[in-house]
Amino acid sequence: MPKHGSFISRLGEHFKRYWQLWLMVTPAICFIGLFAYVPMYGVQLAFRDFVPSKGLAGGPWVGLKYFRQFLESPMFGNIMKNTISISLWTMVMGFIAPIILALLINQIGSTKVKGFVQTITYMPHFISTVVIVAMINIFLTPGTGLLGRFLGDTSLLGNPNLFTPIYWITEVWQHVGWNSIIYLAALSSVDTALYEAAKVDGARRFQLIRYVDIPTILPTCGILLILNMGSVLNVGFEKVFLMQNALNLSSSEVISTYTYKIGIVSNQFSYSTAIGLFNTLINFVFLVIANTISKRVSETSIF
């Protein structure tokens, strides 16, 4: 058999050699294909006037009408501003906090205390969003709430300027412990000889963290940052929606809640698909930017 045969024969050779591997991934490929790629057929809804009786491909083609409608909507500026500010704050703080927590936990000597702190910090991750929002409400209730009693006679949830901070602080509180696990895993792989060597060279605690720990987890940070970037505009629907009230609406209407109001409540499938697609496009742009930066800076990238 020639070494550089035609494409087909090379392919044949490839499958002959690796068919077991391909067979193993077949179910996964089928699964992804069916649940991630087949539904993408529905994206065309965004470019059509959807007529349910005619099926997905039935309505007349209207091109970018719905995108234009969204861009020209009086709500557009405000929604984008809210979405970006809420999601960027959440992403940045939600990215930094677990790293700091992991570095701190790593400094705890006793395994018992370490385990205890870890358990306590990751517990809130398992509380459902509805319960978390109810808890936030109760905490902030003026007069009787855990925090609300010190904060005047109106609830902080009624202040539009505080919506973003309340959102990201509670988000960080809920997930910081859980998200720090991956960094702790990375830290556990540090060769103890490095610590010994650094100590011999006269390094103190902070220098250990700076010159040993941080470089160790940097690649993990890079990858996680890129992955998070891809969903930067996907502000969780439930939490924002549950925290909304008439007073904070001006800073709490985000793309996902608007899509819900337009699409599900008012049955405008085409319009809401267009908004969703717009959201995805922006996410994609963010992802590419983050990946490029990360590639330049730390030579870590996902593509």
Partner: protein
């Protein structure tokens, strides 16, 4: 040989993988091959009904047997909880897989927008009860028929017992008497009364725990039931806060002219008044962010010591054990100089009595003949009564042909043996000729409503209220909805801020301008167009 064996294994594995994906893909398919006749050869009729999750199962209700006798068929009930239906509805409509018969599930707009439903107006002769209903209650038919006269969803009518407003103000009469105060008649007098409630410890427990005006928070989606803007009626804007009324987006009618109260001076006055109440601590400082649970807790209190001075609500039953302390507060005048003839009250009678989404039939349903018989039976007087109140004779006793007495047990929420009824989820018609006695729910409503008789006399049901049968077509409805999202988003935030912090005068002009630019004017024009169209004859 080994190689061939491997090949065969590979093939069978591939087939298995393929089969499993097909199973996955098949999950969403509808089971259209199900039997349409039962073992005895009788047709099967499947009915989906959306329920309160706490109700008794449909098939245990005695009257369902009467319908089965009438249609000579077998009924399969599918009880769906409200909460899960609201998630399913859009998906069901998009897929076109609608149930054969559905109760309290779709509304006429769905019927016009989606071509899945049978035009029931063509089959009135097979449903004489429905025919009679439409002939007697003309606004019921107008409410569901489109311009060409198609009827895809039948309405239901719970009778004259419910020809009442959905909104009433209640004030604590015991407190008034104790403090030696008169019933307030103007906003100023109300302020004085509420101040006395706040400062003079009318519930006598030595604590300043009274909530003078236990106000509901403003929804982010519009003006829903029991909101404080019923005070607009003090200045002649007739509200109609219930169900599908456009009042929730601010639309009102006065002398045949449509307007939006969000940009009216009357609205400004109410906002100012509410702000003054909040400033003086007569409305809870966190009223705009409070959860419903907190409002209810203050309303029913502990069942002994009342906490609320005043609420906007449904009936005195809202107060549960404390209901004897409260009476309905008649519509107030804005100022002492307001002429009596200007004062109106929330006019939502038709919306309380009628519902426009009772029953729909799928175009492709099998056994249509049996279905029409079922529908006809449901709209019969006796079955309607039983659907609404409960089984005869266990829950309702029928003394002569058209007089019914409801058992006390039906109104006891703590009983372990509730009456077997669907209440307002019913598809039927209780005609005015039937007399229903001891309907405690409606008695409480009627008692509350009687306080507003004078105010109602100033309201012309067609010229001052958007009639329930005025409905924009689906294109305009889309425009209206899109505009509304922007209008309400801006207006409600502003309103909430004004009530909390004041400043309505300074912002007003810019606010009105902004509302017009985001579509409020266009919406008013559209509603005027449809109002004219539907009321011209």
């Amino acid at each position: 040989m080994a190689r061939r064996g491997a090949k065969r294994r590979l093939l069978s594995l591939a087939a298995a993988a393929l089969a499993s994906t097909m199973v996955l893909a098949g999950c969403g398919g509808s089971g259209s091959d199900e039997a349409t006749v039962d073992a005895n050869g009788k047709p099967i009729v499947k009915i989906l009904i959306t329920r309160y999750s706490t109700d008794v199962a449909m098939k245990t209700m005695g009257w369902t047997k009467d319908i089965e006798t009438a249609c000579d068929c077998t009924i399969k009930w599918d009880d769906v909880a409200d909460s899960s239906w609201s998630q399913q509805k859009s998906a069901v409509l998009a897929s076109g897989d609608v149930p054969d018969v559905s109760i309290f599930t779709f509304d006429p707009t769905d019927g016009e927008q989606y071509p899945y439903f049978e035009d029931l107006s063509k089959h009135l002769n097979q449903m004489p009860n429905v025919k009679k209903f439409f002939a007697t209650q003309t606004s019921a038919k107008k409410m569901v028929a489109d311009k060409e006269g198609h009827v895809y969803v039948l309405p239901s009518d719970r009778g004259e017992n419910y020809r009442v407003s959905s909104n009433h103000m209640f004030i604590n009469k015991t407190w008034l008497d104790k403090l030696g105060l008169q019933m307030p008649t103007t906003w100023d007098e109300l302020t004085k009364v509420l101040t006395a409630f706040k400062t003079q410890d009318p519930n006598g427990n030595g604590k300043a725990d009274e909530v003078p005006f236990n106000m509901r928070r403003i929804d982010t989606t519009g003006f829903s039931l029991w909101n404080p803007f019923v005070l607009l009626n003090s200045m002649g804007i007739t509200t109609s806060f219930a169900g599908t009324s456009p009042s929730f987006q601010g639309i009102y009618v006065k002398d045949g002219k449509v307007g939006n109260f969000l940009e009216s001076d009357e609205y400004k006055s109410v906002v100012k008044y509410l702000h003054s109440l909040m400033e003086q601590g007569l409305i809870p400082a966190d009223a705009l962010t409070r959860e419903d649970a907190a409002i209810t807790a203050d309303t029913v209190s502990d069942g002994k010591t009342a906490k609320s001075g005043m609420i906007v609500g449904w009936a005195t039953t809202d107060f549960e054990k404390l209901k004897d302390q409260y009476v309905a507060l008649p519509s107030l005048k804005a100022t002492a100089s307001t002429p009596d003839s200007d004062v109106t009250w929330d006019s939502s009678q038709d919306l309380t009595e009628l519902s426009n989404h009772a029953i729909a039939v799928s175009k492709d349903a099998p056994n249509k003949e049996a279905i029409y018989k079922v529908v006809n039976a449901l709209y019969g007087e006796k079955v309607s009564i039983q659907q609404y109140y409960g089984d005869i004779p266990e829950d309702v006793t029928s003394s002569d042909n058209s007089t019914y007495t409801v058992n006390d047990r039906c109104f006891d929420s703590s009983t372990k043996d509730p009456c077997k009824a669907t209440a307002d989820r019913f598809a039927g018609w209780i005609p005015d000729s039937a007399t229903v006695k001891n309907d405690q729910a409606s008695e409480a409503l009627k008692e509350a409503d009687s306080a507003y008789t004078k105010a109602f006399a100033n309201v012309d049901q067609t010229k001052d209220v958007m009639p329930i049968y005025v409905r924009p077509d689906s294109d305009d409805q889309t425009t209206i909805t899109n505009n509304n999202t922007a209008v309400l988003n801006y207006a409600l935030t502003k309103t909430a801020t004004w009530i909390q912090k004041g400043g309505v005068d300074a912002d007003w002009d810019a606010y009105v301008k902004k509302l017009d630019s985001v579509g409020l004017t266009q919406n008013v024009k559209l509603w005027q167009k449809y109002y004219n169209e539907y009321t011209k004859n």
